[in-house]
Symmetry: C2
DNA sequence: GTTATTTTTTAGAACGATCTAAATAGGGCG
DNA sequence: CGCCCTATTTAGATCGTTCTAAAAAATAAC
């Protein structure tokens, strides 16, 4: 015998409240929006009824009528990357504080999935999009699926290809070149002369910028960088550990490395350990991002702080501000970065 | 002189397409939904026009009319916690694959913020909610802001207070007791006799369950657990490092500890190092969660794998399945856990 | 008791889609 | 040619809100 179910109640709407209070829909709507037009007595009656029936505001219907939006889409490669997780937390914090809600999408670093995700998100009518593009994704395709009107904030990476001139997209970029330059200068000051740049995909814009900063500092110090001192890897711990061998294929081997990011640096530490080297004793290295782990690992990691949570907040603020003025020229913000010196950047052994 | 702007185009809607093709709204709507009713020739004409005008489907309007939803709300304490970040990634993966979109909300472990966040999310009309409750939040308040109809999947923690009987909420819980039991048994097999349970808030349900599993294993092995072998801390690295002293206040001090989770275990390692102890050599410890870091840290951390990404997928699948049958009785799923033995769980020195 | 003024309320048309039920268009057949 | 049947198309109501313009009620002024 089937169990008896509670009757399925329809959702309660403005109309139900209006009927119960014997006023019009319009009045209830005014009460909901705290309009001063409605009489104090009526207001109280209506509010009590809203409470009593457990009314839930239907923001989608309101947005439809008002032609507004109350959401922001956030599209990232991978939440499992702590840098992006922190960033997302920051975005959501600020977006929520502004009364908006965050729509999430992840691309897994695939331009095709990115297209699909953008296509799906856009149908839900977000007011704007914060996008950290997948590697290899291209401006015109993104533009195509977003339409020319959608406010967009690009974070962390540039898109390949040219932006149609009509796009007024904002950008929030880390000062990658400066960060790598700071790290390199620090290693040079420690006394290193043979310094490598380790990890990252050479074609990604952030890697190019970091390499450029590295080269700049090396050049200024009149230090040579042999071709095999530039080692590529996927920006993950595992692949970095694997790529460690390539670093010691060159002769003479480097005594220090500026790593593409913290994940790569941690992977390199692992690889060094497997070769019997002690990072922070007979090999120096620096990271980039200052993820939580950097301070905890042993030896603790000298790195570049980018304050991802604060970047998330900043990205949200920039985009929310843009919602008001969609037609103004897009701005490019470059955030300064900071060198955090810890134990991994030791002086060379035979100084 | 102000720059000339492109004219602000209204968004293109069904009506625009219908007008351009000289057909009715209804026909265009049918084309959008790939109905077999519409003539092949007409369909092609309409599709071309959709393309040409850059039409974007307004899912909110459709949902309003159809009384459906195409989103799932995900409410977590903190995305910056890698366990939850992985979980969120899994949820989003599965939710996206089902054609839904994820609405994000974070509570920062505060029941008040949780209420606010739920209140805001619910107005956007998600089809269901995945909630990992903030510590100390209570069932009836949550129920109050969600209404009795909303499908809910509780993850990881129970809510305080009693659930109204009308709620058909699903639960997805880790087998906390079994996990802690496995870890404890492993340490006992290694030869430890004085084992502590370290970290976590004693009032949280997950901590209680893990402690219970710990006690069960200890009791079965007829080992005593003095009161000061149960040490509390916030479930963070920093606070765990601080709480390390409490572990060695007791005499005789323990030779091993089952930690509340990996974050706490990593913090304890740090604290041990500051006392001149070497985790994995003269003190053994285990974690819980198997976060990415656990394998990379030195010594690598013996822990309990909960596969958070897969749990995220599972949570999404459970909730999506529930959308079809909102009135059926809620189910409680307990996922098995697995012991991952690594280097941190050494035998006692003077075995 | 009018009329003017202010305060409060409301009917009805939006918003952009879908659905129902009915209209129209083609074909085939006697 | 007229009738029936199937294939296509569509007018108009609807989802739950807000907006506009105007009506109704209360208050003030004379």
């Amino acid at each position: 015998m089937p169990s008896t179910h509670a009757p399925i109640r329809r959702k309660v709407t403005l109309i139900d409240i209006a009927a119960a209070c014997d006023v019009s829909r319009a009045t209830v709507s005014l009460v909901l929006r705290n309009s001063p037009l409605v009489n104090r007595h009526t207001r109280e009656r209506v509010q009590a009824e809203l409470q009593r029936q457990g009314y839930i505001y239907n923001r989608a219907a309101a947005n439809l009528r008002k032609r507004t939006s109350s959401s922001i889409a956030l599209v990232l490669n991978d939440l499992a990357n702590p840098f992006f997780a922190e960033f997302a937390a920051g975005v959501d914090e600020e977006v929520g504080a502004a009364g908006f809600v965050t729509l999430l999408g992840s691309t897994g670093e695939s331009p095709e999935r990115q297209q699909a995700v953008l296509g799906s998100l856009i149908e839900h009518g977000p007011g704007g999009i914060i996008l950290s593009p997948a590697e290899g994704s291209d401006a015109s395709r993104v533009m195509e699926s977003l339409g020319p009107q959608m406010p967009v904030l690009l974070f962390n990476r540039e898109l390949g290809g040219d932006l149609p001139a009509s796009a007024h997209w904002d950008r929030l970029m880390l000062d990658n070149a400066r960060g790598a330059e700071l790290a390199t200068m620090h290693l040079i000051e420690q006394g290193h002369r043979r310094i490598a740049f380790f990890g990252g995909h050479a074609q990604s814009s952030s890697c190019q910028q970091r390499r450029a900063g590295f080269m700049k500092a090396m050049k200024r110090a009149r230090l040579k960088v042999p071709g095999d001192y530039l080692v590529e890897s996927a920006p993950t711990r595992l692949d970095a550990a694997r790529a460690c061998d390539a670093l010691f294929a060159s002769d003479p081997a480097p005594t220090a490395a500026v790593c593409y990011n913290d994940a790569v640096a941690l992977g390199l530490m692992l690889g060094l350990g497997q070769r019997g080297l002690q990072p922070g004793r007979n090999f120096a290295l620096t990271g980039f991002d200052n993820i939580g782990e950097a301070a905890m690992v042993s030896p603790s990691l000298t790195t570049i702080s980018t304050a991802p949570r604060e970047r998330g907040r900043q990205a949200a603020r920039l985009l929310l501000a843009r919602l008001g003025h969609p037609q103004e020229r897009g701005e490019r913000t470059i955030v300064p970065v900071e060198l955090i010196v810890r134990d991994s950047s030791c002086p060379p052994l035979a100084a």
